[in-house]
């Protein structure tokens, strides 16, 4: 059956439609919380126009692992901004505000992640935009939302601040060690994703009623949602929820173990048949029948959990990670080596599914990237093209979307409303650009596909 639904998915991707075709999004976003969401919509076919303040644009262009630029672009930036159109528009300038409102009048969604009230102070806030487009869906994302104590103090925020504020980092550490910051930006990315949940629900509502709306979210408030049991636990027990390292205190056994070959393996086997399988794999089938381990709720109790995890840890030290994976497959419990990014990229399964996808970009060339992770049998989302320099698509957007003449565009440059990149790494096009590759051309008002 899977074959009928999913056969040749990777190949069919090229010719199939995208689910959000026809939706237009304007983004005034920087870093990750802001741009990641419109990036998701763009991979699903929405037309996203990213407005950056020229000539430096999005601060995320500077985020480089130990200073490394990928083909002349910041990798964090490249990851989060696929399939977009690039507009260098200085919203401080009155002429730029006018252009923005013209674009807003023809858009479905606006997303920004500035501090509260900034768009309003530029006269391009929700109250101004809904006058020209009452159906607009407007999403504002930031650290603390639009109102409340911290918003009123105008505090800045980052993902790391949210990891701290929410208790997420606290819960993601080893007991007795200081709270640990994640290597990724979970609060930004998750806030970005949750924003699109609300935006698409609002779009559904607009289809039904014609009504647009305003949506705001805080990255801290969103990551708190993922912390599940922590809140009722604290309410009910009056105690602080405590971290447990790699051990999952809600699933037993579930932990990460150190193996004979120095590798780490994650194991989970809570359901009766899974736990029985693990005990058999360890050569101790009788364990599953012992009273202290007999059912999941009993096994989860602190002392019992500590004992079974110790037994598994001692056993895992005598096996390689690969051996444990093989036994898990045979006995029906779950195990996985702790994959590095190399393992993920080189994994044949992820490649065959097209999650590891080959991008062929006119500016950045060929490279492998992570695909949008929801596979859709009839409308497969995909990374089509990569990031561009600040203001790269100015002419296209002005001519194609707003019907501006060459003379009008020239004037917009002269007054500083429109601008292009600064001649610095991460802002300008990659070295060797021929001045043409990747440019979109509007012809007779008809859209020409990205070359």
């Amino acid at each position: 059956m899977a074959e009928k639904t999913w056969g040749n998915y990777k190949e069919k991707k090229r010719s199939r439609p995208l689910p959000l075709k026809g939706i237009r999004v304007l983004e005034v976003c920087t870093l990750i919380l802001g741009p990641s969401g419109p990036g998701f919509l763009a991979m699903m076919g929405a037309e996203v126009i990213k407005c950056e303040i020229p000539p430096m644009g999005d601060t995320c262009r500077d985020m480089t692992p130990f200073g490394y630029l990928f083909k002349g672009c910041g990798p964090v930036f490249t990851h989060n901004n696929p399939n977009k159109y690039w507009l260098g528009l200085d919203l401080h300038k009155p002429e730029a505000k006018k252009v923005f409102l013209e674009l807003a009048a023809n858009s479905d969604i606006i997303e920004e992640n500035l501090r509260p009230g900034v768009m309003e102070s530029w006269n391009v806030g929700y109250r101004q935009i809904k006058e020209v487009n009452p159906g607009i869906i407007y999403l504002a994302k930031n650290g603390f939302g639009q109102w409340g104590k911290y918003a009123a103090e105008n505090r800045p925020s980052n993902d790391g601040a949210s990891q701290g504020f929410s208790g997420y980092a606290w819960m993601s550490s080893f007991p007795g060690q200081p709270p640990l910051k994640s290597r990724i930006y979970p609060c930004d990315d998750y806030g970005g994703l949750m924003g699109e949940m609300a935006v698409l629900a609002a779009l559904h509502y607009r289809k039904r009623t014609g009504k647009g709306q305003y949506i705001e979210l805080s990255q801290s408030e969103n990551i708190m949602r993922t912390m599940s049991w922590v809140w009722p636990y604290q309410q009910i027990t009056g105690k602080t929820a405590m971290p447990a390292g790699n051990r999952d205190v809600s699933i037993c056994p579930a932990d990460t173990f150190y193996c004979a070959d120095g590798a780490f393996v994650a194991i989970a086997a809570p359901a009766p048949e899974e736990f029985g399988g693990l005990c058999k794999a360890m050569g101790r089938p009788g364990l599953a029948k012992e009273p202290r381990f007999k059912d999941h709720l009993t096994r989860l109790k602190e002392d019992n959990a500590a004992e079974i995890l110790k037994i598994i840890a001692d056993w895992a030290r005598t096996r390689t990670a690969e051996e444990i994976e093989e036994m898990a497959e045979k006995h029906g419990f779950a195990a996985s080596r702790v994959y590095t990014v190399k393992d993920v990229t080189e994994d044949g399964h992820f490649q065959e599914r097209g999650f590891i996808t080959a991008v062929d970009d006119p500016l950045l060339g060929q490279y492998r990237s992570y695909e949008f992770p929801v596979m859709m049998s009839k409308t497969p989302p995909k990374v089509k093209w990569s990031v561009r320099a600040v203001g790269f698509d100015n002419e296209y957007v002005m001519a194609h979307h707003l019907g501006k003449s060459e003379e009008e565009i020239k004037q917009l440059y002269q007054c500083g409303a429109l601008g292009k990149w600064a001649d610095v790494p991460g802002r300008r096009p990659p070295d060797g650009w021929d001045g043409k590759a990747g440019l979109n051309v509007a012809e007779d008002g008809k859209e020409k596909e990205q070359r």
Binding site: M1, A2, T5, Y9, F40, M63, P65, F66, P75, F144, G145, Q146, W147, G148, A151, P156, N158, G160, A161, G164, F165, S166, Y168, S172, F174, P178, L180, K181, R183, I184, Y190, M194, L200, L203, Y205, E216, S228, V230, W231, T240, G245, N246, S250, F264, A268, H296, L300, A334, S336, V338, V341, K342, V344, T345, R353, F355, V374, S377, T379, P381
Partner: protein, 444 residues
Amino acid sequence: MDKEQAWSDWIKERDDPGTAHTKPEALDDITVLDLSYKSFAGCYCSSMLAEFGAEVLRIEPPEGDFIRTCTPYGMLYKGEGLNYLTEGRNKLHITLDLEKPEGREIVKSLASKADVLIETYRPGVMDGWGIGYEQLKKINPKLIFASITGYGQFGPMSRSRMPDYDNIAQARSGIQSGTGEVMPEGKSYDECPWAVPTKAGPWIGWAQPGTFMAVGIMAALYWRWTTGEGQALDVATAEAYARFDDFAALWYEGAGVAAERFGSLDTAAWLYCFAPTRDGAVFLGGLRLEMWQAFADMVGKWDEWGAADWTNLTVFTEKEQQLKWAPLVFAETRKYTNEELVNMSIEYARKGRLAPITPVVAPVCSPEEAMKDANWFDRGIFTPVKDPVYGELIVAQAQHKMSETPVRTKWVCRPVGYDNAPVYQKYMGFGPSKLKKLKGAGII
């Protein structure tokens, strides 16, 4: 335009979660069947839809979903596991035995009336029961059939016998490997068992794929408006979580470097770290050069550190530079409490040399401190839900503030089979005697 009113007041009047119950719901025309089993990803996904107003029929086997037993330290509250208690919200709970042919016939009938079906069984299980996508689409071509599993519906590992759990998804994503404390020089695993690849504590390897699927479902619903067609959706939890690895894939692709653990510093950014203080730790953020300069100034090191001469933030991101500067920064932050440092940054935004530019300073809180922070409480995150079964309970909610169709938590959870009578009456026309018969036969 009512411009005279301050923006924050104007918008609060319109999107304060306290007024949510007076407003319509975005998805109250959508019916969802949630057949997920042993998967919090499935429950989380259907919660997303239920919060926006969809009618979600949560279908469990007669003995209840195993996921209800996945609760910290084996703790139950009024008979319920604490995780399930937070994500049973707004769903109607019914039971049905899918192992029995009669049970599958009932699912087919329900599916003919549904918009979305969510399931988390191993690939092939639903097909084997005759209720897979290809079979159900014959009954209902508009159905959106959403599967969330560890390895997805196709590809070599999709045939794996292994079940899907949060810690496995986190391990497989490539993210755990690069997160954690660095092993101190000359030390071994046995001496420092905390200096290892470290997963996130919360079930992000389940919540996030569930959310991705909910977003995919919304896109599929949008496409259905134009074409009238349903489709099948496939999320593999490890892939979904891996997508959040913002720089590692391209760093590896371009430079062949696999990101390694860097403690609470940040491989891709400076100033961006947790820093120890007199009473705990703070997060410090300064992703623009001026913010890093403002930090130096704020702690009185403008001249000594030569901050006026800094011209490029990128050089500070390099590993050697970070390892050189971090101890200098920590020596300063150790002089203050969390509160003092936070206040210094707010003050700096008002009066500092580079004001209004200021570094981001945020306390690293315990979740108890977070829950007591009036800011979040005032914004409706921890408003207790008055649940008819479980009483007043705090679950995180209201994370979206929306002017027209706000999310809301109407109830937190329901016991197994709680809604059998009304749901089977409404959808199947089964009265009490028929239900009794089905129950007797072990079908519901």
